[in-house]
Subunit: 339 residues, 2 copies
């Protein structure tokens, strides 16, 4: 078992800097496209044997130090009662957006064993195959709330903020229900075998720090507090969250994920005793190999004083990325960080 990822999460010194990449199982891989070509995305997420196949694809090609469950951050949202669908090029759509007290009241707190059994089944199957740690995950409550309220992706998050600012009580009730679902989902994933848990707060970065502190952070804190007894590393990734980092450091996470906009050395200095995960611009994988190597070297050097560093991208792999460049990046991280 390759323990480097878990060691770095705990702030221990590993033989090298571990690396995994967000969306490492994804559309840039022809073998993923082949599986996806035969089946709609949401159905794929519910077929454990296919999720296992897809999760393992990048590990067969590249020397990744961790695997991440193939699933979607909106799976628990669907289990709460959202009518979810995915449309090529449009992202997720929710046919029954949740914008009033009645709609919030109708949402149920999901029960993983009944409502998302395929997630835990995928994890159980994966653990038999893997010799690197397996990361489970969920969407953070604020991010889930934006999808529920907007009915999909958004540019300005107008409906979300209108509810936040105009009906804060209702917004908090919604966040309560989502948080309870997320707690149950992550606990079930850990009990099924996930060895680390990551909360993706994809849209946290649209909040001013004063609003993040009131409307988003308390729920992240509650989730991590309730999961502390599982004794698995807890990772919080607040995308576009540079101005939230001092608050994110109080989330209760063991590891903070960083998007690519922030200097990793600056971040490490500010968050003190937490490990950092990140943060190469995914598009930097289009650099010529020698420049890619130089940039990875600078990144590793910037993170050298961090209390644990897991190399990752600052966002998911772009689908046009040549797999060969991913292979090179993994190789460079291992070569340049070998101790």
């Amino acid at each position: 078992m390759n323990e480097s990822f878990l060691q770095a999460c705990r702030g221990e010194r590993a033989s090298h800097t571990p690396v995994w990449m967000m969306r490492q199982a994804g559309r840039y891989l022809p073998e993923y496209q082949k599986v996806r070509g035969t089946i709609p995305f949401l159905e794929l997420c519910k077929r454990p044997e296919l999720c296992v196949e897809v999760t393992l694809q990048p590990l067969k090609r590249f020397d990744m130090d961790a695997a991440i469950l193939f699933s979607d951050i909106l799976i628990p949202i669907e289990a709460m009662g959202a009518e979810l669908s995915f449309h090529e090029g449009k992202g997720p759509l929710i046919a029954n957006p949740c914008r009033d007290a009645e709609a919030v009241g109708r949402l149920k707190v999901a029960e993983p064993a009944n409502d998302m059994p395929f997630v835990q089944e995928t994890i159980r199957l994966l653990r038999r195959e893997l010799d690197v740690p397996l990361i489970g995950f969920a969407g953070a409550p604020f991010t889930c709330a934006t999808y529920l309220i907007e009915g999909g992706s958004s540019k300005f998050f107008h409906e979300t903020k209108k509810m936040m600012f105009g009906q804060p009580g209702l917004f908090h009730r919604l966040m309560d229900k989502i948080s309870e679902t997320v707690i149950r989902s992550l606990r079930a994933q850990a009990e099924a075998g996930a060895q680390a848990l990551q909360l993706f707060d994809t849209w946290a970065g649209v909040l001013a720090p004063c609003d993040f502190e009131v409307f988003a952070l308390p729920y992240v804190q509650r989730i991590f507090r309730k999961l502390r007894d599982l004794n698995v590393p807890l990772i919080y990734f607040a995308n576009n969250g540079a101005t939230l980092i001092d608050l994110s450091a109080q989330s209760g996470a063991h590891v903070l994920g960083l998007d690519w906009r922030m200097d990793i050395g600056d971040a490490a200095r500010r968050i003190g005793r937490l490990a950092v995960q990140g943060n190469l611009d995914p598009l930097a994988l289009f650099l010529p190999p020698d420049e890619l190597k130089e940039r990875i070297g600078r990144l590793l050097n910037g993170a050298r004083d961090a209390c644990g560093h897991i190399f990752n991208l600052g966002h998911g792999i772009h689908q046009q990325t040549p797999p060969e460049q991913v292979r090179l990046a993994v190789e460079f991280v291992h070569e340049l960080s070998a101790r």
Copy 2:
């Protein structure tokens, strides 16, 4: 003449904190919708008498301390040879995206007197009407380059970064041409009567600081250096630019515009002798009046030690904003900052 805006730009103490709002002339105003209902957006931008009317609309309703020319950041791009069009709900489209040496070679450096005379004419007409300062503007080179390369708005700026990382020489040639066009356009605006000039770098925030420093900042610096002799305040707004702020402070601007993600007090401390402009979340205009007032009070207090503060939103006014809330916000700023 109300000088408070220009005083704040120069770091002088005014009788109150001046206020204007990005997109103050826009779709949230029924009188704007009425003008727009009769004419396509791009045509409106080229009709000086209508641009004057639309620019003045918010000043008739609200006690704004500055006016901003009604135009679009892509007007100079069209003048360079881009086949620009606007489509409701889709934003700008450029039919001939600029992705290779031939396309970059074909672009011309625009000549404002010939290629955008309507902009200067609008400014000349406006100056006869206004008793507050008039702000001229342009898109910053990086932002203009993204539209030219992507052919419109983008989510990941994949084509832009592919050129940046894969063909840096070509990218720099493109930035050269855009910068020269921007310099000419802003100079012509000042000569026509614009009393301050703002560069909008809407997409700067998608760059890691190390890339911003190499691919975007040098062009902003060149533009401001070349315009220094005009003796008008120069404002740089790098949207989503919290992690770029130390670099932006070296841009040569007199004033830095801030989006809403950053605490304005933190920003003011970091940029030292520059004035700050910003930075209320535009969606905070949906707060109940008493909370809106409280938030504006906190913002003014946060900026109290800044070397000049111009109150603004952190982004354009959202089109669903009730005009009454805009009126209240302006009133609160004036009331709470009166000296």
